[in-house]
Point group: C2
Chain length 262, copies 2
Amino acid sequence: MTRIMCSHPCQIFNLNQFSELFNSGKSTICEDIAIIRDTLLALRLGDLESVAGAGGGVRFVPRVDKRNTEEYISELCKSLSDPDRILPGGYIYMNDILHNPQQIYKIGEILASRFMDVRPDFVITVETKGTPVAIMTAFSLGCPVVVAGRNGNVTEGPLVSINYVTASSRRIQTMSLSKRAVKEGSRALIIDDFMKGGGTARGMAQLLKEFNVDIVGTGVVIATREPQVKLVSSYTSLIMLEQVDESERKIELSPADWIKSI
Amino acid sequence: MTRIMCSHPCQIFNLNQFSELFNSGKSTICEDIAIIRDTLLALRLGDLESVAGAGGGVRFVPRVDKRNTEEYISELCKSLSDPDRILPGGYIYMNDILHNPQQIYKIGEILASRFMDVRPDFVITVETKGTPVAIMTAFSLGCPVVVAGRNGNVTEGPLVSINYVTASSRRIQTMSLSKRAVKEGSRALIIDDFMKGGGTARGMAQLLKEFNVDIVGTGVVIATREPQVKLVSSYTSLIMLEQVDESERKIELSPADWIKSI
């Protein structure tokens, strides 16, 4: 049962399903679920929640442990501050982390824990680098992902497009979303890998407005300290990028404040 | 332990780690691992493998159940054959599936099971639609993902680029890979969402040749029946797309032959 539920975070399993699968009585299943729950809670690996009603049952809710998360994010900061990561233009090479499923599973789990209570119906990101983090965050939240495109794509059907201005380079860009990807009136969580001025996140918010969608949160892996005022009013990042000094070959990063107070 | 191991497929856990975490003797841990293993095997949910030697321990290897997989792929074919999915040009809308973490977790697990024994060091795909499937396949294989770009990207450092010709539209395209993303002499598994002529997969193979990398397999979610001769010599798909008839509004798909004989 642990294997099945942990592989399907936030999905409701009916007790009858388990009863049939394991060929055992419902009371035995209930007792076992209580034991699993106690163990998960004791080790701070998550929780099992009962869901009442017709479609009810039990679901696994991933939670992250404070100490564990702090340690993990500190380690990540250390690994990202390696001067060999500095690329021309002050960019940081981080694809080895953003494309490592185990790393982004962990990152997604932390972001999901942060936004679990606002119950988003879907996660939205814009191609391409933010996609893996968005997928893993949505995996832990048990909801789908919607990927906005940077140029109209033939295989998505009718699109809604907007123009937006990036905060850092002040260039006009286009962002579009398939009409059938989003349901009017649903709740969206914006996820991306990186935030500098917040122009991309604001672009996503503007695009979602066309669909009458509520934005329940914005989460990124890394946000830059400067500019302090972003184009979005509130966001959560795991890591703050204090500065990149290309000539001195120095990268300075620190865990975001809220990480220390989970 | 089940929760920890199932969330980290193919990663080796030392028995001392568990001993410390659960504050119990090594022999108890061993007994518990034997019980978990028996249960996983009995329910065909995976296996626990012992790894000998200095860095040894135990690791969870996901396996998929034949009946379960057959049913799942048949359901997927049914859902994909909905005529409302037909887009102008004979394309099929399938982003709701390719961006649904639970669906691609399952798809990735099936592809990973298929290629588990050839032990790839990494999974390679080309942006953008194949990325989520590649990430989830690599998650189950316990290895990283490398994403080739369609246009040079500033944040990846020095690139190796090739030109290749797509089989279907006969257009010349560029594909590039960051020099630091791939280690010479390692083993690659090519994963993509869709294969028509096989031009993209052959492009990836040509690109990898520049890195002296062995290709141990090619896996896609959907391959078209026509052309029967693809530009790559061997590949595995989960689903065969028999035909799309835009005027008759009909899509015909079937599970690949090997699915029936897992």
